[in-house]
């Protein structure tokens, strides 16, 4: 399956990936709405939050709004079915299911790869990974 792979060592925190993502999916410059996040953790190290498409959120959803596309292995949230409970956000072991204060539904990376095209250092790449 295709998914993002990160290499924090080479990240220069330009945040272009987040800008690209937020713009693509929410038409906004607010990078809080990006489906991946580049932050500093408590130790002061760069921490890139990406979804590994592990699918733990699928089982957590009470309304079957989250499913894996059998063709590409990517996990999607169906906004129409979603009732906005955010159980999936807490269930995600990587904090890769996102919530933003203006949004009623959670959102996540769908491995489109737009961000990787903008990354100047290949800190994030789209790769074919064995399940």
């Amino acid at each position: 399956m295709k998914r993002l792979v990160k290499d924090e060592k080479v990240c220069i925190e330009c945040h272009r990936c987040e800008e690209t993502c937020a713009h693509a999916y929410f038409k906004t410059a607010d990078i809080g709405k990006a489906r991946l996040q580049v932050e500093r953790n408590r130790q002061g190290e760069i921490d890139i939050t990406i979804c590994t498409q592990c699918g733990k959120c699928i089982q957590a959803c009470p309304v079957l709004a989250i499913s894996r596309n059998p063709k590409n292995g990517v996990v999607y949230v169906d906004k129409n079915k979603c009732v906005g409970c955010f159980i999936c956000v807490a269930a995600c072991p990587l904090n890769a299911m996102m919530r933003h204060k203006d949004e009623l539904e959670p959102f996540k990376c769908i491995a489109c790869g737009l961000c990787t095209e903008q990354c100047p250092t290949q800190a994030i790449t789209l790769q074919e990974v064995e399940e």
Partner: protein
């Protein structure tokens, strides 16, 4: 199978759809099935101020809709279902509760029963803060609310069964537009035994898209299902498509979502090492109750049993309960305690051989249907649980009533001739199940058991010459309601919690046994009396706002033990304050929260008084709940009791007979209960006879003239 049935619409009413404003629709729906009147009623600012919502609205509407002498089966008795202003938020665990209120056939008092499932939130999203049903239909009807169409109708449909699991399935199929729409339907029904007993429940359905079956939660206590059946209502059905994250139009939605997410994370982090609600549900405490001698065994005679291990939580988890499913009874409940056994094959009754989805078992069902009947068999517990639900029978009342009948049988107060051949011995699971099937068929001794302990005492004395004094001591009921399944004998706080509860001995109002006996958090007499003020009032609030109590104390943050009043779980209380403020825009604090509750709590007590009850005599527990009635009970805890007598009275128990010791213990414990009642009434602002004083009602703002008048007349 095509379940589109022939429908005859007897009456239709259209209403204007409007968005909810900060948790309130500001109107309720009134349906009279006698004359088929359907109308909207306004919710005034005063009503919100004094009654908040949920149970508060239910009690207020019931007071206004009935006379002081209205009986449960008079047409003017009502069933009110109200979800509360916060209900329906999808982010905070346990936010979909409805409170159901009616005059109870068991107690002749206003009863309130809380329930999950989708009905309450869907009624709210359809446009109403409460559904109030009155009257008695001349033929079997269905009340149908379509929240998307803005339509309410009284329908006539020939549904060829009285059992709730089938009614829910058939009507879900009928009213849903397609497969996807089934999740938007919720059905309220009773069951075939509800009309033959005084312990009928209301089953509230919620469609489970994974199992593709409507599951059910119960408004269990006090026989409201019996009232529904008496009204000739087959079901109440609501359809609402379009549930989203903020249909309440909250004042501060982000705060709601943040607070919810914080608790989701706490549960994700801690539940597996705390109560394991997500694995085994409320039945997690069976083990603790047994180990602490608090599990009711054989009609509350004993508190533990060597075979109890057979019904410990892991037996259900390992052999029956489906694991890892998001089993909440409303969206967003990550505590997910609504466990189910899937593909469960029934061994008895009309559905023998059927493979069904059984919800539960809740702790109450393991303790009641199991231990309290001396039956330690998980397969049987699930089967009895299934039949109770589908027949529309309250598991708790059934269990406690059957335990009483079994003890009467074992002590020779009734015999096999009286029971129609049933050998009603403790441990006889076939007999227990047969009682249930008899209730459904309206035959045999099952009918007497279905009337509950209070009526059985009268009936057994009158018809069979059974000893009324002994039955008074061992019949576990107060106010006509059966005890729920905690052994209060050694917990003074729980004795008071049961006996002084407004509706009868149900633990939801004052579940103090855990903090008293397991955690030892309220050690002194003063602590217990204060707890009997604070907790019933605090716990009332959940039912005003639309919350479930379990996410308050069946999970707690890591640092809770360092808090000053750890037993109150301060961080979670603050969550509730925040959520109420964030949804309604009315800033409250802890003090105001308690005041909101205190108003409704005292209103309910005054409602009891208005109906000729609500006095000290109505709060008198049977002695079994305070101490050992029989020799066997005394001897089972001889060391404890002997020690207490020695300490209290400086006597040498070795020189006394068991009956002397029982007598001495009884005098002490009855006096102790009386002293407690004195302290609690005083703390609650009630007279020594248990009636709220006019001054207290005025002080807390429950100063409606009709309420003050009742208090004044009855001082």
């Amino acid at each position: 199978m095509d379940h589109k049935l022939e429908l005859k619409q007897l009456k239709q009413f259209s209403y204007e759809r409007k968005p909810i404003e900060r948790g309130y629709n500001n109107r309720t729906l009134y349906v009279n099935v006698s004359d088929q009147e359907i109308k909207e009623k306004p919710v005034t600012e005063e009503m919100k101020e004094k009654f908040v919502g949920g149970k508060g609205f239910g009690m207020k509407l019931l007071w206004d809709g009935t006379r002081p002498d209205t009986k449960w089966n008079d047409p003017e008795n009502e069933i009110i279902i109200s979800p509360g202003p916060v209900a329906g938020i999808t982010q905070y665990p346990g936010s979909g509760k409805s409170l159901v209120v009616s005059i109870s056939p068991a107690t002749d008092l206003p009863i309130d029963s809380n329930v999950g499932g989708y009905f309450g939130p869907y009624v709210k999203f359809s446009g109403f803060d409460a559904l109030e049903v009155q009257g008695k239909a001349d033929r079997e009807v269905i009340v149908y609310i379509d929240g998307n169409e803005g339509s309410v109708s009284i329908d006539q449909i020939a549904v060829d069964t009285d059992d709730a699991h089938l009614i829910s399935e058939i009507l879900t199929e009928h009213y849903a537009k397609d497969e996807d729409d089934k999740r938007n339907i919720s059905v309220v029904s009773s069951g075939s035994a509800a009309k033959n007993s005084y312990m009928g429940v209301l089953n509230f359905s919620f469609y489970d898209p994974r199992r593709q079956v409507p599951r059910m939660k119960q408004a269990g206590r006090g026989g409201i299902g019996t009232v529904l059946a008496d009204k000739n209502i087959k079901a109440l059905v609501v359809r609402f498509a379009g549930t989203k994250g903020d249909l309440n139009n909250s004042y501060d939605y982000d705060k709601v979502a943040r607070t919810g997410l914080k608790l989701h994370r706490e549960i994700e982090r801690l539940d597996d090492s705390l109560f394991r609600m997500r694995q085994v549900g409320t039945a997690n405490i069976t083990d603790t109750m047994d180990k602490y001698d608090l599990l009711p065994v054989m009609n509350f005679q004993y508190g533990s049993h060597e075979d109890a291990k057979k019904v410990y939580a892991n037996e259900f988890r390992d052999n029956y309960l489906t694991q890892g499913f998001p089993d909440g009874c409303w969206y967003g409940c990550s505590l997910a305690c609504a466990k189910t056994a899937d593909n469960f094959e029934l061994l008895t009754g009309p559905y023998k051989g059927h493979k069904v989805t059984v919800d539960g078992p809740e702790y109450e069902n393991v303790a009641g249907l199991g231990a309290n009947l001396g039956i330690f068999d998980p397969q049987y517990v699930l089967e009895a649980n299934f039949y109770c639900d589908t027949y529309g029978i309250d598991t708790i009342s059934f269990a406690t009533a059957t335990a009483f009948a079994m003890e009467c049988y074992e002590r020779g107060l009734i015999n096999q001739e009286h029971t129609g051949g049933l050998e009603l011995k403790f441990g006889n699971k076939d007999a227990a199940l047969e009682l249930l099937h008899q209730m459904s068929r309206n035959e045999g001794i099952g009918v007497q058991v279905g009337r509950g302990v209070r009526r059985m005492k009268e009936y057994f004395a009158k018809e069979f010459g059974a000893d009324p004094v002994l039955m008074q001591d061992i019949g576990m009921e107060i106010k006509g309601l059966e005890y729920s399944e905690y052994m209060p004998k050694e917990s003074l706080a729980q004795q008071g919690g049961y006996a002084m509860a407004n509706k009868g001995p149900q633990h939801d109002e004052a579940w103090l046994i855990f903090m008293d006996m397991v955690n030892n958090q309220i050690p002194t007499f003063a602590d217990k009396a204060e707890a009997l003020h604070y907790f019933p009032i605090f716990r009332t609030w959940f039912g005003l706002a639309g919350f479930c109590k379990l996410p308050w104390n069946d999970i707690f943050p890591e640092n809770n033990k360092y808090q000053e009043e750890a037993h109150k779980i301060p961080e979670h209380v603050q969550n509730y304050v925040n959520l109420f403020s964030a949804v309604t825009g009315k800033e409250i604090d802890m003090k105001e929260l308690i005041l909101q509750s205190e108003r409704v709590y005292n209103f309910q007590r005054t409602f009891n008084v208005r109906r000729g009850y609500g006095r000290r005599k109505d709060d008198m527990p049977p002695y079994r709940s305070l101490g050992p009635v029989t020799k066997e009970e005394y001897e089972s805890r001889a060391e404890r009791y002997d020690g207490q007598l020695k300490e209290l009275f400086d006597v040498d128990p070795a020189t006394m007979s068991v009956s002397e010791k029982i007598k001495m213990m009884r005098e002490h414990r009855e006096k102790q209960y009386d002293t407690l009642a004195d302290a609690v009434y005083k703390r609650r602002g009630w007279s020594a006879d248990g009636v709220p004083t006019v001054e207290h009602l005025q002080e807390i703002g429950m100063d409606l003239p009709e309420v003050l008048a009742v208090a004044e007349e009855n001082q």
